[in-house]
Amino acid sequence: MKKSYKIEVDCANCANLMEQAAKKTPGVKDAAVSFMALKMTVEFEDGAEPAAVMKDVLKACRKVEPDCEIFM
């Protein structure tokens, strides 16, 4: 399953870091962050609960970029 979320982030490099962090989160099969469109597209693994996984994704992203925001 694929879902996309609106995000807020200040710099392109931070967006890259968020992408890396999201990719490593359990339950996430693949993730892509578009800095220009301010969008994060997340592909979940089968059986993963998107809402729960996204909480972890946000936590992981906050670690690399304290100011970021994901609108769920």
Binding site: S4, D10, C11, A12, N13, N16, L17, A32, V33, S34, F35, M36, A37, L38, K39, T41, K63, V64, P66, D67
Partner: protein, 624 residues
């Protein structure tokens, strides 16, 4: 400016005012220190916080870290020197924040101007219900309901016109500025703007399946497929910052140690200052911000002209295309049959067409349709008597008391009329009037008017070879190929053979890339096999949008060259920015290391390069 940016602006103003006060007021030593400290913390607290969080989360090397170390280092030096001059630390932080603010405004602005190009999302649909017309969210309109589109409104959902007629502006989808006329029974596509009359439309799809949603999805996801250049930058940033930090450390320690060994004064202070300057210069923001921005602008500029490119990686491939392979039908030719000539007729051509069109007036065969289209008027049925259709042969009829026979060779033989065979490729309709041969009408798939120019434009855009593939017989293929001027053609191919041909060409190809252009019908395997698949005339065809990497919304062949030109320009800008930013950085690093450039110069270089790179990136939006 948004709230966050305004907050930063106020902080900048307050910190700047405090800094001025600290310099102007004749305060004794400790008091001025407090003023400096307040100013420094006002402007830099978030940077320090982020740097600390970064260290705590083991994400040490980023811009915040660089700035924190550089400014704290400058303060430490000022304390060590007992100079009490904290101007430098505060000013560097101040300029860094001004640069960041400027960058965030510039990027936000560019993002909005690009996004507005693709703003084809309809806000609401006027749904007809028992209780009158209700404004509804397009997503909630079921298939088969009736919506009303007022002049000036965007058509929200694909459907069929059931009442009214109007011109619709398809520019947002195709880049074509001439409005298209629609009337009852015509299909209308969502995303177009209704220009003149009120239309009642019966929806044929849900909003999510409508053209406008498909296009938006495609455009919005396009920047997530990253190009090699973008990947290069993110890798670059990952090794760059640690490398710079190590170099700075080396710069601070090695020269003084060397001087010690040579018996000179170590001058730790000077070298520490140079190392800090080095750190300030090294922020890589110009690169990491301008490259994605260039690609985004390129994709945006292309989509404004009705060229949808599915990702930056395809934009990059497109710029390297050296060979363009065409599937003949629908790309070089129109894919519709038209009268292309009247031969061996002694009178006027129109006369023969008129007889044939009348004789065929009752038939719904595609050939008779194209005859009628060419005739231009609706045949007058009262002039026609005794129509007899002979299946597989043609028709005979009496038109204005002249007996007309129109059909193929077999019909002529059956009627015992001597006919002249045709040399050209296409479908031939022989016409006999009162039992005497009167010539034949040639109906064929005609070439697009501007195909020759389009091939020329391709060559000008740097394409070295054009190839035509077709299922037609050799003679027909040769005629078309020679006329439009492709370099190579292959005829009598089955759909499977086309894949093989393209694969063979891919093997021969060196470093250049191969693009395959098709109309999206029956050629999905080839579209996906080529380095880059371009589908033409895709408006309303889901299969084509699905299979291709580049989608041309209308069927104008000139757009292929446009797409390549746009991609070349975009990539040139990307390389310009990479080279420019790295060159300026390296130059400044060298000057900083040798002590020619101070921290002030460093911060100006950083902001300046970033601004120029962003402005340069925005050029990708417009290609002449």
């Amino acid at each position: 400016m948004n709230k966050k940016q305004k907050k930063v602006l106020y902080r900048i103003l307050i910190a700047a005012a405090l800094l001025v006060l600290a310099n102007v007021l004749p305060l004794p030593f400790p008091a001025s220190c407090i003023l400096y400290a307040v100013s420094y913390l006002t402007i830099g607290w978030d940077i320090l916080r982020k740097a600390a969080l970064g260290i705590a989360n083991r994400q040490v090397f980023d811009e915040n870290f660089l700035m924190a170390v550089a400014t704290l280092g400058a303060i430490a030096l000022a304390v060590a020197d007992r100079s009490g001059d904290f101007n430098e630390a505060v000013a560097v932080m101040l300029f860094y924040q001004i640069g960041e603010l400027f960058q965030s405004i510039a990027v936000g602005k560019s993002r909005r101007s690009i996004a507005s190009l693709m703003d084809i999302r309809p806000d609401c649909a006027n749904l007809e219900t028992d209780g009158g017309i209700v404004e509804t969210d397009p997503e909630e309109v079921p298939v088969g309901s009736v919506i009303v589109v007022q002049p000036g409104e965007r058509i929200p959902i694909d459907g069929t016109v059931i009442e009214g007629s109007s011109g619709i502006d398809t520019a947002a989808l195709t880049g074509e500025s001439v409005p298209r006329d629609v009337t009852v029974g015509d299909e209308v596509i969502s995303g177009c703007i209704n220009l003149s009359g009120v239309l009642r439309v019966r929806t044929t799809r849900e909003f999510g399946e409508s053209t406008v949603s498909k296009i938006l999805e495609l455009v919005e996801n396009s920047s997530s497929r990253k190009s090699r250049s973008e990947n290069f930058i993110s890798k670059f940033a990952r090794i760059y910052t640690p490398a710079v930090c190590c170099s700075a450390l080396a710069l601070a320690l090695l020269p003084p140690l060397a001087r010690l060994m040579l018996g000179m004064a170590p001058a730790f202070g000077t070298w520490a200052y140079r190392a800090l300057t080095f750190l300030v210069i090294s922020c890589p923001c110009a690169l990491v911000i301008s490259i994605p921005l260039s690609f985004f602008a390129g994709l945006g500029g292309a989509s404004r002209e009705g060229i949808l490119i599915k990702g930056s990686n395809y934009l990059e491939t497109l710029s390297k295309v050296k060979t363009v392979v065409f599937d003949k039908t629908g790309t070089i030719t129109k894919g519709v049959f038209e009268v292309s000539g009247v031969h061996h007729h002694e009178g006027k051509d129109e006369e023969l067409i008129e007889y044939a069109a009348h004789a065929e007036c009752a038939s719904s065969h595609p050939i008779s349709q194209s005859l009628r289209r060419h005739y231009g008027k609706e045949p007058d049925r009262s002039r026609v008597r005794d129509i007899e259709e002979i299946s597989g042969h043609g028709v005979t009829a009496t038109v204005d008391n002249v007996s007309v026979a129109a059909g193929n060779d077999k019909l002529m033989r059956r009627l015992g009329v001597e006919y002249i065979p045709c040399h050209s490729a296409g479908t031939v309709i022989h016409v006999a009037l009162d039992g005497k041969y009167a010539g034949h009408i040639l109906i064929s798939d005609v070439e697009k008017e501007n195909i020759c120019e389009a091939l020329k434009a391709l060559r000008e855009a740097g394409v070295e070879k054009t190839v035509m593939l077709t299922g037609d017989v050799e003679s027909a293929a040769k005629q078309v190929a020679e006329h439009v001027g492709v370099d190579e053609y292959h005829s009598e191919l089955l759909p499977g053979d086309k894949v093989e041909k393209v694969e063979a060409m891919l093997r021969e190809l060196g470093s250049g890339k191969l693009a395959f252009v098709g109309d999206g019908i029956n050629d999905a395997p080839v579209l996906s096999r080529a380095d880059i698949g371009i589908a033409m005339g895709a408006l309303g065809s889901d299969a084509a949008i699905e299979a291709a990497d580049v989608v041309l919304m209308d069927d104008n062949p000139m757009k292929i060259a446009r797409a390549i030109k746009i991609s070349r320009k975009c990539l040139r800008i990307v390389y310009e920015n990479i080279v420019f930013a790295i060159a300026v950085k390296l130059g400044c690093l060298l000057l900083g290391a040798l002590g020619f450039a101070g921290m002030w110069a460093a911060i100006f270089a950083d902001v300046g390069v970033m601004v120029l790179a962003v402005l340069n990136a925005m050029r990708a939006l417009k290609t002449r």
